[in-house]
Amino acid sequence: MGHITSERVTLMDGSFIDQEQLASARRWPEAASRVPFWVYTDKELYARELERIFDGPHWSYLGMEVEVPEVGDYRLTGIGERSIIMVRGEDGEVAAFENKCAHRGARFCRQKTGRATEFACPYHQWVYGLDGELMGVPFQRGVKRKGGMPKDFDKSEHGLNKVRVESVGGLVWGTFSKEAPSFRDYLGERMFAHYERVYSGRKLKVLGYNRQHIPANWKLMMENIKDSYHPGLLHVFFSTFGLFRADQESATEMDETGKHGILMSRKGDKEANDVSTAIRSFDADLELEDDRLLDYKHEWPTPQTVGMITVFPSVILQQQVNSISTRQILPRGTGGFDFVWTHIGYDDDDEAMTQRRLRQANLFGPAGLVSADDGEIIEFSQEAYESAPEGASLIEMGGHEVENTDYMITETAIRGMYRYYREVMGL
């Protein structure tokens, strides 16, 4: 462990090894139920994550069909650290390409949303169509036969970096990879069934956005939602009001690879029992004065009241009581990520349901009575890893294996993600 220069790595004892030896310096601990802290801090590893995971054969969340309803409507989004323009093309389909001019690489589109007939980079006014093709290069043939592009310059070879797009159940997904399977196959049949429970094709309605920069490695957010052990403990609000507690009917499932997961549960009532007494912070006397905040209405085809899906690597699909949102993860270096929440309802929701969703949104986001806890705790973790990356997490709840469970006190889905991660990253 130590400081990395271009050719050699200085270890903490002052000795150094060259880059070829780096892989061996980064040896995973023997047990599968350990995650070394350097996965959250190592810059070389992070570069490899961007290349193999975010630019690799994985689908990233881009946005929603309803965000770009008309031809020319666009919205800025991202894949990894790349800025992506998602746009409704002339053919009525959603397309996406990188927000990076093919000429000098400027991130030219600055408005988060808008309607365009074309995209122009302000630097030298190179113009692109809604399909990302290069349409115009000012003075391509020079002025008075002087200057200009070489004769063999071919505009068709210099469009914007295109993203392969699939639109599934109202959400839009993108990848740079030709090798990635279809989105449905990428999720796997089991996870796809969970996906369709919320994203059935019923038209969505955007209720609004919240954004936060969380000073922690992006993987910690994925892990947080795969960790079914924490919600009833960290989130006192959940356990106190019976929204999520260890004795409730629940399950954790993964796709075959372990990279995606879902945490399901069925809410109970506010009650003190053996489980609540095990939670030090449980407060039986706590009551809401205005309980409209917890006015739940069941609207799902299955009895579960919570379905938190992690679609590796880019998004959490939240259905927690009547609050539905996508939480997009955009990594920003080893020690931080932007977390973009899009809260939604269905287009045919009645007014009462919209109000219910908006009230329940108080539990989530940067000021969320529940979610603020998560941003804080993973910041605490990251701080420790940065100062002492030689340790490792102990991920042994529920044993050492990766398997679907019908209980909550397990860390199986975190082990599942790292089993997949190690394979992709060659660790």
């Binding site: 988060k112 949303t113 955007v206 209720l207 609004g208 956005y209 919240n210 954004r211 936060q212 920069h213 969380i214 000073p215 960290l234 989130h235 006192v236 609000f237 106190t240 912070s281 407060d283 706590l286 809401l288 004065e289 205005d290 409209r292 905040l293 932007d338 809260h343 007014e351 919209t354 109000q355 908006l358 009230r359 949104a361 108080n362 986001g365 940067p366 000021a367 009575l369 603020a372 806890d373 941003g375 804080e376 705790i377 910041e379 605490f380």
Partner: protein
């Protein structure tokens, strides 16, 4: 309340539409002074961390919303914090005290450009808000920057209460969490 929540949110936040209207009439010097006193008390209470007293500044049937320009300009009703009664504000204070987990910090709120208007007995107050956050062992930083648009009413006994408060943040990317009320 017959108005829908969205109508209330829209009425309180459609600043573009408001801007097109003639400027609201400034309130009398007496009202302006009394409202300034109210905000001085409000900020002192909040900066001292006396959050239990915070809901007392509001009418029981109040409307409170913290949101971003992104949502207001896009016409989206989502908020960061949203309450439809002083009881909901009290619930949030209890949740902050008893259920939420966060690193110790203090907020100091800086308000400027207060303008107080009075039209048909409705008192409006607008101003800027800058919140500096200080976490233990870290340098102070700006947590959020924005504006507030409030309506106030005279209390039966004395003084004023906030009937509606909408804080619209320029800051769209929160530096991690927004814990305390604004």
């Amino acid at each position: 309340m017959s108005e829908t929540l969205q109508e209330r949110a829209e009425a309180a936040t459609h600043t573009e539409a408001k801007a097109a209207k003639p400027k609201p009439r400034p309130a009398s010097a007496e009202v302006r002074a009394a409202v300034r006193d109210l905000y001085d008390d409000y900020l002192a209470c909040m900066d001292d961390g006396e959050f239990a007293a915070w809901p007392g500044f509001f009418a029981e049937d109040c409307f409170y919303r913290v949101t971003t320009r992104e949502n207001v300009e896009g016409g989206f009703p989502l908020s960061l914090v949203f309450a439809e009664s002083a009881a909901m504000l009290r619930d949030r204070v209890r949740a902050i005290d008893e259920t939420m987990m966060f690193g110790p910090r203090s907020y100091r709120r800086f308000s400027s450009g207060l303008r107080v208007s009075e039209e048909d007995g409705v008192i409006g107050a607008r101003g800027n808000l800058l919140v500096v956050e200080t976490l233990a062992d870290k340098p102070s930083h700006i947590a959020v920057c924005g504006r507030f648009e409030d309506t106030l009413a005279r209390r039966a006994d004395r003084g004023y209460e906030i009937v509606s408060r909408v804080v619209v943040l320029d800051t769209e990317m929160m530096p991690n969490s927004l814990i305390y009320p604004l």
